[in-house]
Symmetry: C2
Subunit: 263 residues, 2 copies
């Protein structure tokens, strides 16, 4: 058990488990530029041999990477590095919320902080392309005043566009993730939220502030908009807290397997 023979330059993150080796291997390939977005990995059987682990172990590692959103497997086709825009899964946050009782207000507030910052930064440095994208979404919103479903799509798109206009991909990714989580809980109650005309006007004011390069105003306008949005959302609240699953299925006997000696 020589603790030093591992002369590798690896971080203290010395996970020597088989699955860990796989994760680290892929990570190295990515860092070295040998694997990039959209690339296809070797077949599992080949990769397993190359890394020096069994196929089950390899799959264990790939499973981890898949959970992290790094990989995506398609049966019969292969395993690929995730493509498309940077995306952080909602699962981690969602589980965290369920375990620690994060409320929707908490989520919304965090989103508010992020979006306020994004709006401010967008006003400071948005490129003309980004600003055009914002304008397009505002126009689409006004054009969809009589179609709530369509309106909502462009509402979301507008906020994503603001996040993108901030020029910071980390911020944009975080906003996307939290928004998705917040949005997930209200999908049903779309229409009757607020007066769409009023809402569209607010978005237009945000857009104008960003275009004018006024960070404070952009932040304020976004703040007002979110305040109203949250209020509207709160009015349709329900006890959607953690333990609200309405008995999805039979009251299965769960604890009857083990020996009764316990407890």
């Amino acid at each position: 058990m020589p603790p030093s023979t591992k002369g590798k330059t690896s971080q203290p993150d010395a996970d020597v488990s088989a699955a860990g080796q796989v994760v680290e291997f892929v990570r190295r390939q990515i860092d070295a530029g040998k694997l990039k977005s959209g690339d296809r990995l070797p077949a599992e059987r080949d990769l397993a041999e190359e890394i020096g682990v069994s196929r089950p172990s390899l799959r264990s590692g790939l499973q981890t990477l898949q959970a992290l959103g790094v990989l995506q497997s398609r049966q019969g086709a292969g395993t690929f590095i995730a493509g498309g825009p940077p995306r952080l899964g909602v699962a981690p946050l969602s589980f965290l919320a369920a375990l620690h009782g994060f409320t929707r207000d908490d989520m919304f507030e965090a989103r508010r902080v992020l979006e306020l910052g994004a709006a401010s930064m967008a006003a400071e440095r948005a490129t003309s392309e980004r600003i055009t994208a914002l304008a397009d979404e505002v126009a689409a919103m006004f054009a969809a005043l009589d179609d709530p479903q369509e309106y909502l799509i462009h509402d979301v798109q507008f906020h994503k566009a603001v996040a993108a206009a901030s020029g910071n991909p980390v911020l944009a990714t975080l906003i996307d993730t939290i928004s998705e989580l917040v949005y997930e809980t209200r999908r049903r109650t779309v229409e009757r939220a607020v007066d769409l005309k009023e809402s569209a006007e607010m978005h237009r004011r945000i857009y104008r502030a960003i275009k004018a390069g006024d960070p404070e105003k952009a932040r304020d306008e976004m703040g007002m908009h979110l305040a109203l949005a949250r209020q509207a959302q709160a009015s349709e609240e329900e006890p959607v807290a953690t333990a609200a699953v309405p008995a999805p299925s039979a009251p299965r006997a769960l604890r009857t397997k083990r020996s009764p000696a316990k407890q």
Copy 2:
């Protein structure tokens, strides 16, 4: 299209894969309150039978949950729901950064947005306990002016305390995650960062603004502090690719700053 007729809270996300069933099963148990932080899951062999999948498939699902930070397994002991404070792993963001070329500046900027919001919110609603915790950290920092390592610990602790004082666990978790990622890359170059005395004074000013209940001032002070911190950090820049692999130094244009289209 037909909105789920039932009042079910289940998403349209109908993953019927074996691993998916496991994840969903655990999720339900958590939502229903049958599993909570620190609890121990049944043995793999029992759980597999209960859910109705094979053990390999069960392990696949557990692997996913482990990657998400929901579970933690200990050989010989069992599998447990993650305990302790809410924590979001750095792995997802870290991989995303490696894949999409997020720069350290991007990270720092996102952190800045979050911490500014947290400081502002802390000033608005921090409880006396939280404020006391802040005071303790400030005191510890002043007491460690001659011990950079110790100082850094309390520096980090102070920022975590501010995040906690915001009263928003989502925000606090996000800040913790990003901070960890930012710190991860500079652990080595600790001491020579800045004048510790000056740094401690800045933290004290942040603390005072929060205690005084002045959101704008708290935000400003935090902003000034972070601006300086970033500047100091930038001065010790280096090729900080994640792994110190010899790396054929990919001639790709990946390591460049965000020159295109920005600013």
